[in-house]
Assembly symmetry: C2
Homo-oligomer: 399 residues x 2
């Protein structure tokens, strides 16, 4: 299948290009290469060294014996998107090309507005280019489990049957996102659903959990094919950050009570799920929502697993509570469904500790990269848009 | 109270400046004057002649004995918004400054993207300027009843108690908007709610019905104080369009079966409701939703009222069914709540026929303006983004 990847230079985009190509698909993609700048802006770097575009493309060619059509371009420029689609004629479009960080979007007015403008406009452009160039193509849109927030009821996959004052309807499940970034994904979900209703666009809206891990099997031993791994407060995600903290002897940073529960999944599961979505397109006009995660864990459970795995490889890992820079519930009900992907054949990894171990071992050789950016490990971007470094607190004072 | 009006040159913005000033408030506002350009772009004009900004300001000064601080500026320019707030120090901000047309947003990719970018960014800027300059000020945000779409259950005011799989929660009522414009208002509602939760912003999100009418008492006999009234397919709203069609002998244009039901309210009710919202601010951190309309009517009921009122003033008014350029349910359940404003003292007009009569009589003297733009009366912007003039159909073929 011809698959266009928006955001092909990213943490998920690059591995997906490798993964789908290894599984027989023809891939092309675009990226504005901004992720590398953002991470530098907030004082981070990739803990797993990554190559520049030319070297990635060279490694790709050596591995697969063909060129990858990976263009540097701006998805908010409609002419660029439409022109690329006219040439490539994608059958599926996987949209990973957005600003993906909650804290980054909370820094100030400029970062908030930029995030929403960029994400909303580039998703609209992909919808329009599909409509105008390849109306039968399938948009696989990366959303986030964070769109739902933490309601006090089960979280279905996108829609639920409700009875209200004696009448029934199937309605979109309400979204209560917790950052300007997460709100941008909510806007995208609404826009994408509307395109399906108006134009018959085939769309899968992926409410993905938090991804972690350094590699997928399809990369083989070629380090030039590895993906980035961030650990800073903005672009590092929970387990990846914990793994990085563990290997440099920094306490794992639980925010507040640490009972926040979220869906998580290894990088390999994310790839497998995106492939399932691509290879099983919805009907014309169908807007389907997948909740995509291996399982739901509290942050404390994950930190304790990293601690345990760390001990196995000789690391003495401390866990500390920090004052929470975010405004969020620190203890709450959380029970999201995850059936649609299972129905398509998704087999969750289950043994996530082995992925944590692999991640830590992979990062060990270059742990100086983390040590050189040690300040990035503790957050200072607060949800009231002030800046104040979080400090270690007594867990009980926050409970 | 010091009230900032965003979109002070518009159909609602200008009357509100007059109305609130007449009721003792100190008003300032901004407008980029785009409405006048958009209406010209789609081949329309105001059926009620309106003055340029200087003449409006002169008339305002003669009426109230003071200057109105009405600046031409772009609300997507944060420095402009923030600077104005620093000078004026508003206690309430009424946000009417957006692109308000569903068909205009459906024209093509450019109009769609422009609408969402403009509306989302300017609302974010007002939220940020309130947070950074006047955190105690109250945002009165104009949304639309169209955010809800036409669900098969009652429509509460913003939130509802649901039971799902044996657990209960109070959740935002799902939004299912029917155009890119309406979607932009849904995005704004989510962003505004989030600001209240994160920053404690006081906000009233007004889900307003469709407004009609030419004047409010507070304008007196000075024609220079009158507001615009549009009748084109984009910026003309149902009853106003029907009144214009009636006085030039054009059939009233029902779309499809004509059983679409919506909330409607006279201009004077809109002013009264906005004043109630301004004068009764919510608590710190409170995000409240008002469904704002006089009553809900089907399009056919309204057309028949215009026909009846037309007969009283000697007009022979025909009603015709046109093929529907929109994609929408033409017969559906519709039962929205409207209690919050009643609780604050809103007294609905009830006798809307007298407002229809006043509107028609007001427009009669300048009916040549409508005749000169007669092509604007029948729509051609379709929800699949093609252009094709609607034609008269046999009602039964669509049922």
């Amino acid at each position: 299948m011809k698959v266009f990847i928006a955001g092909i230079d990213g943490y998920l985009g690059w591995p997906l290009a490798v993964y789908l190509t290894a599984h027989g698909h023809e891939v092309a993609g675009a990226d504005l290469m901004l992720r590398r700048e953002w991470v530098a802006e907030v004082g981070g770097t990739s803990a797993q060294p990554i190559e520049d575009r030319d070297t990635r493309l060279q490694a790709f060619k050596e591995k697969f014996g063909k060129d990858l059509d990976f263009r540097v371009g701006d998805l908010t420029d409609y002419d660029f998107v439409k022109g690329f689609f006219e040439e490539f004629q994608p059958e599926a479009v996987v949209h990973l090309g957005q600003m993906p960080s909650a804290p980054y979007s909370m820094i100030d007015q400029q970062h908030c507005v930029w995030t929403q403008q960029n994400n909303v406009v580039n998703n609209l452009n992909l919808l329009w280019a599909i409509k105008e160039v390849v109306p039968d193509a399938h948009l696989v849109k990366l959303g986030t489990m964070g769109e739902y927030g933490t309601p006090n009821v089960d979280i279905p996959e996108g829609f639920f049957e409700v009875e209200f004052r004696g009448r029934k309807d199937k309605l979109p499940f309400p979204r209560q996102a917790g950052s300007w970034y997460h709100q941008s994904k909510v806007h995208d979900s609404h826009n994408t659903h509307f395109a399906s209703k108006m134009w018959g666009t085939r769309a899968t809206d992926i409410m993905q959990g938090v991804v972690f891990g350094t590699q997928i099997e399809e990369m083989g031993d070629d380090m030039r094919l590895r993906s980035r791994l961030d650990f800073d407060q903005c672009f590092g995600t929970a387990i990846n950050r914990f793994c990085c903290q563990a290997i440099v002897g920094h306490p794992l940073t639980l925010f507040g009570v640490g009972k926040q529960k979220r869906g998580f999944l290894p990088l390999v599961d994310s790839m497998a799920c995106l492939r399932l979505a691509v290879e099983n397109p919805p009907e014309e006009g169908e807007f389907r929502v997948f909740n995509q995660f291996e399982n739901a864990y509290t942050i404390t459970e994950l930190a304790e697993m990293v601690q345990e795995v760390g001990a196995e490889i000789g690391l003495n890992v401390e866990i500390k509570h920090y004052d929470n820079p975010r405004k969020e519930l620190e203890e709450h009900y959380y029970n999201p469904d995850r059936q649609h992907l299972i129905d398509l054949g998704y087999e969750p990894t289950h043994d996530i500790k082995s992925v944590m171990k692999q991640t830590m071992l992979d990062l060990m050789d270059n742990k100086h990269l983390i040590e050189e950016h040690i300040e990035a490990l503790v957050p200072d971007i607060r949800w009231d848009s002030t800046r104040k470094k979080s400090v270690i607190i007594d867990e009980k004072t926050e409970a």
